[in-house]
């Protein structure tokens, strides 16, 4: 898209330049006035808190105790301590597992599969499937978590009753798998809808020609469908990776346990900052998470840019 393909000597029409620099014809001052309220909101609710977190991250600020009244600047100690602590890396690794398992593999594969299977269908089955998938997505987190705790509970859980294995502790023996399956179930709707819309854009004539040429189902997918929806796949991956990376809902299933086996970064920050009261340390970890998010976003955006 942004590739400079036009040769340098190509004549740029003179009127095009004025057109692009002041499209609305407002002039610099009036344009600034129009943009100011939005910029102010962004400054107050986004830029200032972000800077404030950076400031807190170099202090020993706590929720209570003497450091709450009189925090001291401790330099980069919080960052250093976080980066050398096994707990932070353990948490980061768990988050990577969670994102790969539930977003990149779970939601994308399941969402695409449903969209692919439903692409030419109409009628009640399609509406039912899509309705159920979307329902899982729009229910409030607290309700959904309660349902899943009731499903997976080891003593009176529905799943154990159905399988006839009372006492099997899903949330304790397979905590990561449980939250991955949970989050896949929870978030598939977005991928399904996005791929559903994208598949509608694949020209039927291309698929028809491929079929006439004797392409198998997999070959059609690989050579016709995927090239067409590559941009959608990357955009979808970018969004759901970032959402999942910062997701807090697993806390309501496992509270980060057992013994920290599902303490993904969002839960780690919550426990460190609000339960443990170490607001400074929490701010430092938040800043690191922000950096990781940026790296992930840049990675996908670069891939996206290579599209055309």
């Amino acid at each position: 898209m942004a590739l400079a393909t036009s040769p340098p000597e190509a004549p740029a029409p003179p009127d095009r330049k004025t057109y692009s620099s002041d499209a609305a014809g407002l002039g610099r001052v009036r344009a600034s006035v129009f943009a100011a309220p939005a910029l102010l909101l962004i400054a107050v609710f986004l830029v200032f808190p972000a800077l404030w977190v950076l400031y807190l991250s170099i202090t020993n600020y706590r929720l209570s105790g003497v450091e709450a009244r009189d925090p001291q600047v401790v330099g980069l100690d919080n960052f250093f301590n976080a980066l050398v602590s096994g707990k932070f890396w353990n948490s980061t690794w768990l988050t990577v597992e969670f994102v790969l398992g539930s977003a990149v593999i779970g939601q994308v594969v399941l969402g695409f599969t449903i969209a692919w299977l439903m692409r030419d269908r109409t009628g009640p089955l399609k509406r039912l499937v899509e309705g159920l998938v979307i329902l899982a997505w729009i229910l409030p987190s607290a309700v959904v978590s309660f349902l899943w705790v009731a499903l997976l509970d080891r003593d009176g859980g529905t799943l154990n009753l159905l399988l006839g294995i009372p006492g099997f502790a899903w949330l304790l023996d397979y905590p990561m798998l449980s939250i991955i399956v949970f989050n896949t179930w929870r978030g598939t709707a977005f991928s399904m809808m996005l791929y559903g819309a994208a598949l509608g854009n694949v020209p039927p004539s291309h698929l028809e020609s491929a079929r006439l040429a004797g392409a198998s189902g997999w070959q059609q997918l690989r050579d016709v469908v995927f090239p067409h929806i590559r941009g959608h796949i990357l955009t979808n991956l970018l969004l759901i990776s970032l959402w999942t990376f910062n997701d807090f809902t697993p806390f309501m299933l496992t509270a980060g346990g057992p013994d920290g086996k599902t303490e993904i970064l969002a839960v780690y920050v919550y426990k460190e900052a609000l339960i443990g009261g170490n607001l400074g340390v929490g701010a430092a970890i938040s800043a690191i998470i922000l950096l990781i998010n940026l790296v992930v976003a840049v990675f996908y955006l670069r891939l996206l840019r290579r599209k055309s």
Binding site: E67, A68, L172, G257, D259, G277
Partner: protein
Amino acid sequence: MRLRKISAVAVLALSAAACGQSSGGGGDTIELTITQNAIAGGKNAKGAEYIAKWVIPQFEAAQKAKGKDVKVKFIPSGVDDEQYKTKLSLDLKSGKGADVLDIDGIWMGEFAEAGYIKPLAEVAGPEAESWDGWSQIPEAVQGLATFSGKKYALPVGTDGRVLYFNKTLMTKAGLPADWQPKSWQEIIDAGTKLKAAGVPVPIQINAGTAMGEATSMQGVLPLLAGAGGEVQKDGKWTGAAQPLKDALGLYQKIYSQGLGDPKLQQEAKGRDKSFAQFAEGKIGILMEGDYFWRGVINPTDGVAKMADRDQTVGYAKIPAMEPGKGLRSQDFVSMSGGALRTLNPNSKHPKEAFELLAFTLSAEGLKEETKNGNVRITPRTDVNKEILAGDPLLAYISEEVLPLTAYRPPVALYPQVSTALQEATAAVVSGKTPDEAAAEYQKKLEGIAGGAGNIAS
């Protein structure tokens, strides 16, 4: 980012909830709010009922008689103590919150150092020091509310820890119904017999971080005391010393021999589950505080009612590792704590708030609160004399357990040290040796206490 949004929303919601006091409509109406981690139909339901049904109408009437128009509102809460603490800290940090609030005794140091609470005399004036109730409160219980020599709160009461056991299960396992172990080995022996008799969870001694402070108070601290140790002594924290290794060793014995259920220690709602399992007759021996008797298996309004509590549930003192090996060379040990009720320094009406605070802990009020089977150990000797006689367990704790109990160090760092202790028990339950877990604890302790110099090992 999303997390920050969530917490910002939570802060907004909390402060909005706490804003009720400022809408002083008529001008001479005084509005007061009081909060506890208690809620009708849930946690500490009797306490919530006492405030809503007795304190508020009686106090408003008494003030009216004095010509003051006072309106009191109760803000209930029914969550884990750690979450309640976070909520209070955020309220107080932002200059909001109820006028009268209940806190756990061990939070006092942190809150005082943060300036969230102030000495009562500073907030409410000299009336707080000259309150007539002080003369009825024993020295040790007053100590619960004292920080750096100043009284920051009124004590709400105290408590003690014992070993509860299910007499039916004990009889089935061939153990006496008036069981009283004299050493840790006798606890293990009883557990082995219970296991042989088919009891699913022979012994439940709380471990792990999911149960929070309950692991410290009803787990590692009484065991530490039983091994002759203290978490802090003469201003120095105790590191990986022998008593801690012994206490962790008992955990190892219980959880590696299948005498306890290690999974119960990891579950997000493990403590609630342990309550339910004891009430269902699945747990043989359980270490708990008197709250368990009053608020959990209480046949009328406990959260896990046991209709036959008085017949089925027995209790025994917690033995030292071996006779005479406990703290202060005792044969038996326990741990005590207690809630505090204090004033919000931001209160717009501190004098009236103190009157409300003192009113909830008046002799008349405490008698009202503790009637109809809701007995607890109140801070007042005059009240205790009258009410405890009616409840065998509380009389037992007051006479047998409180004289040999111990208290947690009332310092700001304690909650962090407590978490490190809980992590040590979690490590042992999930398979590490006591020595390894104790060494890890010492390492964390050095980080918390600011260097090895503040630690004695």
